[in-house]
Every structure is written in structure tokens, then in C-alpha cells.
Amino acid sequence: MQSTFFKKYRYSLVLLRELVITEFKLRYQGSVLGYLWSVLRPLFLFVILYFVFVYFLKIGEGVPHWPVALLLGIVLWNFFSEVTNNGVTSIVQRGDVIRKINFPKYVIILAGSVSALINLGINLLVIGVFMIINGVDIHWTSLWAPLFILEIFVFALGLSFILSAVFVRLRDINYIWEIIMQGLFYASAVIYPIAMVIERSPQLAQALLLNPVAQSIQDVRHLLISDANPTLYTLSGGNLLIAALPVVFVIGVLIFGAWFFRKRSPHFAEEV
């Protein structure tokens, strides 16, 4: 019993490794600058947003190291959007293989998110360089940051499980998700500091931070760049119960997503 379990697990790992490598190789196929684009893309977006929001609209003036925090927010948001947007269509895109061989389908979702995670790692290195240039003080508490990055990862993974399984039957979900993501982008305090919302209504800021993406981006900013970036925990006045809400939600999404995906996956071969 234990050995068959191990064999199954081993197959998934072998497959996961090879799919991640393939995805990485194919990502910038045929482009001259290749992998460099995974750094250049957020960098150019940052330059544009910097000019529009920081230089002209003067947003985030009072927040220390705001440009670095802005870049960090964009990079984390891009990671979340990459995992979920690719996740939606990933099962259908692999339909060809699914119809011909039986393998654990969750590996497809996992491979997509892991390759995005590698991409995020490269981007975080660039941010590290920016932090040093900007003279950001680095504290021991920064070591907690990966925990919140993990939270975004888990949330995106759970959502991908649900979205990809739904997409097999209902293709509209792709467009619906696109719209949700656009709304979520502006609601997640990526391009403006949350302090701007607090000025108007602390309750609204607190409500916005119940969204796990906004909350975790804020926490990473708080830990890595400056504690002038308030988090849900500080905003709620140290109320652990409120601070734990998004985390509980994320875990709930992952559990439901995994259950739903597992239930639907035996039928993928017939339906894609």
C-alpha cells in the first residue's frame, strides 16, 4: 500500500519537474532577449506607472521608499495574475495529452504556478537591488516575508484549481475572471498607498485589506520596505481574529479548490 502511494507520488514529481522545465524553455521561445524579458517587463511597467502616478499625480509622497514599494506591489500582483490567468485555460490547453494518457492532472496546475514562482524569484532579486540603491533598512523581520508570498501562492493555486475545472465546461469563466482581475487590481492597493484610503475612511481601508491579495502585498511591503506601510493587523488595532480572516479564507479556497478539482478531474478526458 505504502509503495504504490510512493510510486504515484514519484510519478507526479517526475512529471512536475519536466513540465516546469518545458514551460520555462518555451516561455521566451524565439525572442532575442529571452529570459531577460521576465525582468524587463515589470521594470518597464514600473517606469510607466512611476511617471504617471508618482511623478505627475504625486501619489505616495509621504510614504518612505514608495517607488520600491510600488515595484514590489506590481511584481507580486503580476505573479498572482500570471498564475490565475494561465491557470484558467491550462487544463483545456493540455487537452491533447489528457485525452491520450492518464496522469495526475493537478500536476498541470502545479507546474504552471511553480514556473511563475521561479519568475517571481528572479523579479524579487531585481527588487533587492532597488532596495539597496534606495537605501532601505533591512531588518530581521524581513525573514517573515516569504510566509506572505506563500499566502499569495496558495491563494492563486486554489483559485486556479477551481477556475481551470470550471473552464472545461463553461468557457465564459475566462472573460468573467478577466473582469474580476481588473477590479481586483484597483482594489488591492497596488498602485496607490493604502494610507490614501485610511485618510478618507479607515473602515474602508480595513475592508479592502480583507482581500488576501491586498493584505499579503501590504504585509510584504511592511516587512521588506518600511513599517510605514500599515497592514490589516496594525489597522485593526492588533486584532488577531480580524487579521486571520484572509488567511482562513485562503486555506478554505485551497481546500475547496483541491476537492472540486479532484472531483472533476476524472471527467476531463471526455469533456475537454
Binding site: 517526475v14 519537474r17 524553455k25 491520450k100 494518457i101 476524472p266 471527467h267
Partner: protein
């Protein structure tokens, strides 16, 4: 007209030693239904519309498999035969655990490797080398395991110079060779092989056959799906014939292969009217005939001229195999006693041909043509069938040599 020689199964011999009574695959009362909605709800709009119009949600159930049961023993070469659309592919996908059965269960003991199709996951944008690792991973090989087999794989595929080229620059034959080469390294107790023999050139096919022979020797259990009855007769111990979702015959591969071919002949005669397989101006016609095939093939034909004197006619005979390929033939001109044949109006003439019996195992169809001058008097296709089962194996033509031993 059916030749019954003593049937000696070519497949027997060595295999029996490795075969045991242990059942490795047990298919119990398996049914598979597909629900085919007439209007598929793939957008919210149609879903919403159909929620309000409940009567519109007609779903057709397609019964692809109906209550199928069979067992496969360890070390057996098991053939699954059936026409296109018979449910054969569905059964295969259920065995490979790609589809879930609607009812019933499947019990598989050991590791099963499905070759439903070769080169699963092949990506044209990757190089040959990268595709070997990707395809290998789908077959369950870790990078280390592929590393160890890599040189063998490349050598077997004969693609040494091409491994760093992108797959999209490969010819289809090269792709198949590479895919097959990876697949043959799979270490499994049970192999599911679907129509892989149909691809590649003669040289490659010989390699495939060698591989199957080695599988047979090593006592692997093989489930084999093909339309090549020669291969079925040569390799399979037992077979099932699937027709319309049910098993219409289970038994020795020779018998099932014959039944499979009959399926085509039956449906052919149904579709083909008498006028289609017999035509001509009718000046000379075949009145009656008989065909026997023992040590030699004896064709006894009575020919009659109808309304006019015919002073020069030729009669030809042809034998076609089950795939309608012309196998052999002859006519009154190249026969031993050849002479100008003539017939007075209303008279008959009997022609007896003794033809050397060189046909190998299979079902053959006789056709004759009577010709006078430039016009065809009586052309008769599908006149009679000859069923041959010989011990020599699956050669289409048996050509015994004069052998000298020095």
C-alpha cells in the same frame, strides 16, 4: 469453398511456458455511456436560456459499451478487434484509465503502460532531445532514468544527427521513430498497444515486429489493437471482437480474425447490389462454376454464348485479399493448353483451371472477366471466397524454395 486445413496456431510454442493462470486484467460488466447534449451549454447565455426553456434540454445517451466482461491472463497477447466506431477505442481508454466506466469495474494488477498514441506530449518547438525527456516523464521516467537510456533511444531511432534540431523540422517518420524508441523503453508488466504498426517504412516495421517478439519472449502481457489481421494471427493468443458495443466473439485469435473479416464481407454484400458486382454486354456469360482449394485450387467454369457466334474470347481470373489487393491471377491465354477459344450461339463450354495453391492464411475473393475483342462480356467481382489457414504463418503468398544443403 472453404479450405480447412489443420489449424496449427503459430502463436503457441514458447509463449505457453510464460503464460500462467494468474489474471492480470479483469473487466467486469463494464458499460460506458456518453451524454451528448444536443445544444451544449458552453456559454452563460445558452445556459441561462436553457434554464428558462427546460424542454430544450434534450440529452442523447450514446451507449458506447454495453456490459462488457473479459479476463486477461498474465503473459497473454490479447487482441481487441472491431470496426471503427464499434466501441473499441472507448474500451481501450477505459483500460488505460483515461475514461471512467459508467458501470462495472476494472481490476488491473501490475504497471500498465498505454501507447494509445505514440509521442504523447511531443512539442514541435522543443528539440528532439528535450522531447525525449518530456515524453519519458509522461511514461514515468525520471531524468536520471532517461539519461541512462538516452543513447539507446537515439540509436534505436537512428536519429543521432538530429537530436538537437527542433521537432517541427522532423519528418513524420522521424517523429514516429523517436516516439516508438522512447516507448519501447517503458518498463511495464502490461502494455497497451494501439495501431502502432501502421506507421513507418518497411525497415521500421520490421523493428516493431522484433520488439513484439521480444515482448512475447519476456512474458509481458500485451493488449493489442490493430486492423492488421496478419499481425493478430501471428502474435495474439486470444482475441475479442467488439461490434456495436458488445463482445460478439471471444476466443482463439484465428477464429476472431476470420469473424472480423466476415463483418466486412457481410456489410459489403448488403451494400452492394448484384448488378454492381456483375456487368458486361452478356454475349458470353458464366453459366455455372465451382471453386475448390485443396493441394491445388480448382476452378471449374461453364461458359455459354447467348445470341451470336463468338470466335475469339478470353477468360481471366483474379484473387483479391481482404483489403482488396490483387494477389494473383491468370487467364486462358497464359494457361498451359492455351488456344483460341470460340463458341457457337447457344452452346456451352467447360473450362477447368488447376491453379497452384500459393495463397497464405487469409480470406480471398475470386473475380472473373470474359472478354471478346475490346468489349467485356461478363465481369463478375466477388464471385466466391476462399478461406485459407495455413501453418506457415502470415505470408500473403507462400513461396517454398528449392533448398540445397551442402
Amino acid at each position: 469453398m472453404v479450405l480447412q486445413e489443420t489449424v496449427t496456431s503459430f502463436c503457441g510454442g514458447g509463449v505457453m511456458d510464460t503464460q500462467t493462470n494468474e489474471t492480470v486484467i479483469s473487466v467486469k460488466k463494464v458499460s460506458k455511456n456518453f451524454l451528448l447534449p444536443h445544444e451544449k451549454n458552453t456559454s452563460i447565455k445558452s445556459t441561462v436560456v436553457n434554464i428558462f426553456k427546460k424542454k430544450n434540454r434534450s440529452v442523447e445517451t450514446q451507449h458506447a459499451l454495453k456490459n462488457i466482461s473479459f479476463d486477461i491472463k498474465k503473459g497473454e497477447f490479447f487482441g481487441i478487434l472491431g470496426r471503427n466506431g464499434s466501441g473499441k477505442s472507448t474500451l481501450l481508454k477505459i483500460l488505460a484509465e483515461i475514461y471512467q466506466p459508467t458501470n462495472g469495474s476494472i481490476d488491473i494488477k501490475g504497471k500498465l503502460v498505454p501507447f494509445i498514441e505514440l509521442g504523447v506530449g511531443f512539442n514541435p518547438e522543443l528539440t528532439g532531445r528535450e522531447n525525449v525527456y518530456l515524453n519519458g516523464a509522461l511514461l514515468g521516467f525520471s531524468k536520471k532514468e532517461v539519461d541512462a537510456r538516452y543513447d539507446d533511444i537515439v540509436e534505436f531511432a537512428e536519429l543521432e544527427e538530429f537530436m538537437d534540431q527542433k521537432l517541427k523540422n522532423y519528418s513524420s517518420g522521424m517523429q514516429v521513430r523517436l516516439a516508438f524508441s522512447v516507448a519501447t523503453r517503458a518498463e511495464a508488466d502490461i502494455l497497451l498497444i494501439d495501431e502502432v504498426l501502421a506507421v513507418g517504412d518497411a525497415d521500421f516495421q520490421r523493428k516493431c515486429f522484433d520488439y513484439f517478439k521480444s515482448l512475447k519472449k519476456s512474458g509481458k502481457t500485451v493488449i493489442f489493437v490493430t486492423h492488421d489481421m496478419g499481425a493478430v494471427r501471428e502474435y495474439c493468443d486470444r482475441a475479442i471482437l467488439i461490434d456495436n458495443g458488445v463482445i460478439s466473439l471471444e476466443g482463439k485469435s484465428d477464429r476472431v480474425a476470420d469473424e472480423y473479416l466476415k463483418l466486412f464481407n457481410d456489410s459489403k454484400s448488403k451494400h452492394q447490389q448484384a448488378s454492381d458486382n456483375r456487368w458486361g454486354d452478356g454475349r458470353v456469360v458464366i453459366e455455372k462454376f465451382s471453386l475448390t482449394a485443396k493441394e491445388t485450387i480448382k476452378l471449374d467454369v461453364t461458359v455459354r454464348a447467348n445470341d451470336e457466334d463468338i470466335d475469339d474470347y478470353v477468360l481471366g481470373y483474379r484473387f483479391y485479399d481482404s483489403e482488396e489487393r490483387l494477389v494473383m491471377g491468370g487467364n486462358t491465354l497464359n494457361a498451359s493448353n492455351s488456344s483460341r477459344l470460340s463458341l457457337e450461339a447457344g452452346k456451352s463450354q467447360r473450362l477447368i483451371f488447376t491453379i497452384p495453391h500459393i495463397l497464405g492464411t487469409g480470406t480471398y475473393t475470386l473475380a472473373t472477366t470474359i472478354r471478346s475483342g475490346p468489349s467485356v462480356c461478363d465481369n463478375w467481382d466477388g464471385m466466391a471466397d476462399v478461406k485459407v489457414s495455413k501453418s506457415e504463418g502470415y505470408y500473403p503468398i507462400i513461396a517454398p524454395a528449392e533448398m540445397e544443403i551442402k
